[in-house]
């Protein structure tokens, strides 16, 4: 059981380039999240998804796009990389029961370190 898997682990981009950060979970979780974490700071929510085909913005969505075509995958797209997007990106997932007060914790991936020069 791999949990939440993020690829790549490291990447260096030039300004204006685009890339997709991959996130896959094998726990059949319905909720998935993308966060970014700047040095010495807490995590900020970029986008989240409550199920396949459904996504919504978090705190800091500008400059990013997401899609959720399957339960397992939740890729994050950077279209025009900017230095301000240099950060560590974390993907997370959680499963919630319908009508049940569930306190299952989020499962996090190990992150993608992205530098934009």
């Amino acid at each position: 059981n791999a949990g939440v898997t993020q690829t790549p682990k490291f990447r260096i981009l030039k300004i204006g380039q685009s890339m997709t950060l991959q996130c896959t979970q094998d726990m059949n979780h319905n909720y998935m999240y993308w966060y970014r974490q700047d040095p010495g700071m807490g995590l900020k929510l970029i986008y989240y998804s409550v199920g396949a085909g459904i996504t919504d913005k978090g705190e800091v969505p500008n400059g990013y796009n997401v899609s959720r075509s399957t339960t397992e995958d939740f890729p994050l797209r950077l279209e025009l990389a900017a230095p301000s997007q240099t950060s560590v990106y974390f993907c997370a997932s959680i499963s919630l029961g319908q009508g049940i007060l569930s306190n299952q914790p989020q499962h996090f991936g190990d992150g993608t370190r992205l530098s934009i020069l």
Binding site: Y35, G40, M41, L45, P105, D110
Partner: protein
């Protein structure tokens, strides 16, 4: 959204008990309190979650007073490997997920020999 306030940093020595307090004055009726631990270069890891009174697991204890406006994470007999950042989060998990949770800057715990 329930905002949380934690100390920025704490120092301790091996073998001591560490208590980290989190303030959440506007916690809502359905909100749970969750604590995460994060090591450098890793994603946050769930430690403990509770609603009221006291919760204990193999890693930590969580104390929540009756008014629920604060909570205290207690780490018994810390070791060097407990050096990490600890986050307190408050939110309602019922059918809405944790998308509204806000990760603050957390508390940096440094354990020395």
């Amino acid at each position: 959204l329930a905002k949380t306030t934690q100390p920025i940093s704490m120092d301790s020595y091996e073998g001591q008990e560490v208590n980290i307090t989190c303030s959440h004055n506007n916690i809502a009726t359905n909100d749970y309190i969750t604590w995460y631990q994060q090591f450098p270069s890793q994603g946050p890891r769930f430690i403990i979650q509770g609603y009221k009174t006291k919760v204990t697991n193999e890693v930590a204890s969580l104390f929540i007073p009756a008014d629920r406006k604060s909570s205290t994470l207690s780490l018994p007999r810390v070791s060097l490997s407990d050096t990490a950042v600890y986050y307190c989060l408050v939110g309602d998990p019922k059918n809405t997920g944790f998308q509204k949770l806000v990760f603050g800057t957390g508390t940096r715990l440094l354990v020395s020999p």
